[in-house]
């Protein structure tokens, strides 16, 4: 299929598309920012930027894990459910103090990631199906543990959710730190290199003697842990645990952020900067539509168009 579709693309168009794909997302963010500065009242205020940044933080953290999974030519559909599982565990074990509860919640994410990673790496199940099973099961488990919405009263968590350092909310700082960490791991560590090599060509990586299975398991564990952290942060911000609706369609937003950011779905390349910009772009798009009184339905349609557009622009890639 690849050869058939590639034969049509010309070299010049390919280069233009590559530029568009690499830097289009930054351009999109700039255009939306300019549009809002001009046309949206009260947009250029510190309070508004804070709100936007706090809203984008959980999506961004989930998207980081998703970028790793997509970099190995996989995908992790279970992230939204893992967030729900994490919020359930958090409110269940809050009696032991916020730190232990957070650790248990993240541990839950690690176990979920371990399960999908083992299915992908050792059994050889396709990532979509493996994480689909986890998606259904983890959401169910979250609801079994905590059947309905529950308020979370904990001063530590409340501080995490709404506190700030020099005007920058904790949530944003944590998201930024995680983004830097993941970017460092992808670019500078052996693990990152191995991940990209596996995404490029799994058989070649295996023949080169890379620990393919171990790397794959670690990738899904990372994705699960990051999703769980996002779940904890979202709970802290909302000061409530809602396993029914927390994280629904999160996998979609995360995949969109990653894809719009220029990470190809065929693996072998991870763009963390683009992913951050992708998450910001989706957030800005939603805000723009909402602030101009367009109903949520239009937001969904717009997001759909953006996804298809980004994937369409990315499709010529792969000739290296």
């Amino acid at each position: 299929m690849t050869e058939l579709s590639l034969a049509r693309g010309t070299v010049d168009r390919d280069r233009a598309l590559r530029l568009l794909q690499d830097y289009g997302v930054y351009g999109g963010v700039v255009v939306l920012l300019l549009f809002n500065f001009v046309f949206t009242p009260y947009f250029a205020s510190a309070a508004n930027f804070r709100t936007q940044a706090v809203q984008v933080a959980p999506v961004l953290i989930v998207a980081l894990g998703m970028a790793l999974a997509i970099g190995t030519e996989g995908v992790d559909l279970s992230v939204g459910s893992v967030m729900a599982l994490s919020t359930s565990l958090l409110s269940l074990y809050l009696g032991y103090g916020p730190w232990i509860a957070t650790l248990i919640a993240v541990f839950g994410g690690v176990v979920a990631g371990l399960a999908s990673g083992a299915l992908v790496a050792f059994v050889g199940v396709q990532p979509i199906v493996a994480t689909l099973a986890l998606m259904v099961a983890a959401r169910g488990l979250a609801l079994v543990l905590l059947p309905q919405l529950k308020d979370v009263h904990d001063p530590g968590l409340a501080a995490l959710g709404s506190g700030d350092v020099l005007g920058v909310p904790y949530l944003v700082l944590i998201a930024a730190a995680l983004a830097l960490l993941v970017a460092f791991v992808v670019r500078r560590s052996t693990f990152g290199r191995q991940l990209l090599a596996i995404g490029d060509s799994r058989p070649a990586a295996r023949l080169a003697g890379l620990p393919v299975r171990r790397v794959l398991v670690v990738v899904y564990v990372c994705s699960g842990a990051l999703a769980a952290i996002a779940g904890v942060l979202a709970t802290a911000r909302l000061t409530a645990s809602d396993p029914t609706s927390l994280g629904t369609l999160m996998e979609l937003s995360a995949i969109t952020a990653v894809v719009v950011g220029g990470t190809p779905l065929r693996g072998g390349r991870v763009r963390i900067g683009g992913t951050v910009a992708g998450a910001v772009l989706i957030q800005l798009l939603t805000t723009t539509l909402i602030k101009h009184d367009l109903p949520p339905s239009w937001t969904q349609i717009a997001q759909a168009v953006v996804i298809v557009g980004a994937v369409y622009a990315a499709r010529e890639r792969g000739k290296r």
Partner: protein, 344 residues
């Protein structure tokens, strides 16, 4: 570009490997694993029903069975279309949204008569499926991302139609259209008959027509199919269109049954449909699968659901845990069986 991720060097099911047609020289263990793959779901279904009827007096009653059949019918129609898509090695995540959209369009259209109520959802959902197919087959985009986008888009259109979900269109009770959902024939609901008829039709199309052979060939190995002269693009566009049509029809029938177009339905239905197809023995890598298996898969999911409901003390959330675990077990078993067949 196809949904299957790694294992590029591993040969998939050979393009000619159709359901059950084993080469004459196949060894016994090879045939056994093929049998397990084909009929594993059916055996599990029978076992589950035996256990359920022994445990609950209310399970094997006419009312309960009829309810189960009726509520399975809509999912089964969606799973039918999904089977075609999955046999080509694709996936269609938009069916849940299209199901809901079909229901709302049917309910809205029912005031203009049965023909409109049926045709409108079919046309609209068929067009969305066609668009999916064109983007996937012609532009070479990954199926899961295209259909993910149309899942969002269709849900958005649905919300536009219903004033952001606040408005519910009712079906006029006297209309002929309601009989498609509420009527019964020989004591069995009309939707069940329609579903059975569609499955027979689907099975014949997949196993006995040229188009069906193309579907298997494309799923087995797309490049080989193209070299053989199979119309790859046309076949893929067709299967996504069929899937859209099935989802729209299921939504319309469901609206006729419920007497209204309910907007919140259908979320998560794509997962149920995919689970049913996979449980039924169809390989997600494409090139291998059966229509009848999907029906068994749907029935199995509904029996599990019914049993969990009957236990009563268990929260319905357990159903998701069980379904997810079950899906994982089936996929592991399939991968294992498939690998055995390849290695032997």
């Amino acid at each position: 570009m196809t949904t299957d991720a790694g294992e590029a060097t591993m040969p998939k099911e050979a393009p000619t490997a159709q359901a059950g047609d084993e080469p004459p020289g196949a060894s016994r263990s090879e045939r056994l694993s093929a049998l397990a793959q084909q009929h594993g779901a059916l055996v599990t279904l029978v076992l589950a029903m035996v256990v359920a009827s022994l445990s609950f007096d209310t399970f094997l009653t006419g009312d309960n069975l009829e309810n189960m059949a009726l509520s399975s019918a809509f999912l089964a129609v969606v799973a039918l279309g999904m089977t075609f898509v999955i046999v080509t090695g694709g996936i269609d995540l938009s069916v849940g949204s299209l199901f809901a959209l079909g229901g709302v369009l049917a309910a809205w259209g029912s005031r203009y008569g049965t023909a409109v109520a049926l045709l409108l959802p079919l046309v609209v959902c068929g067009l969305v499926g066609l668009l999916n197919g064109l983007l996937i087959a012609r532009s070479g985009l990954a199926p899961f991302i295209v259909t993910l986008a149309s899942m969002l888009g269709a849900r958005g259109v649905l919300l536009v139609l219903t004033d952001e979900g606040s408005r519910t269109y009712l079906v006029d009770k006297g209309a002929f259209f309601t009989r498609l959902g509420q009527g019964s024939l020989l004591g069995v609901g009309v939707p069940v008959w329609i579903t059975l008829a569609l499955f027979v039709l689907g099975a014949v199309v997949l196993r006995r027509t040229r188009f069906g052979q193309y579907v298997y060939a494309v799923g087995g190995n797309e490049d080989a199919a193209a070299l053989m002269g199979a119309p790859v693009v046309r076949t893929k566009v067709a299967v996504y269109t069929v899937s859209g049509l099935c989802a729209g029809l299921a939504g319309a029938l469901n609206a006729a049954w419920l007497l209204s177009g309910v907007t919140i339905l259908g979320s998560g239905m794509e997962l149920e449909a995919i689970s049913a197809v996979v449980i039924g023995g169809t390989l997600l890598t494409g090139g291998f699968g059966f229509i009848s298996g999907s029906l068994v898969g749907v029935a199995l999911l509904k029996v599990i659901q019914n049993v969990i409901n009957q236990i009563g003390s268990l929260d319905s959330a357990y159903q998701q845990v069980v379904s997810g675990a079950f899906l994982a077990v089936v996929v592991i078993a399939q991968t294992w069986l498939g690998r055995r067949r390849r290695v032997l």
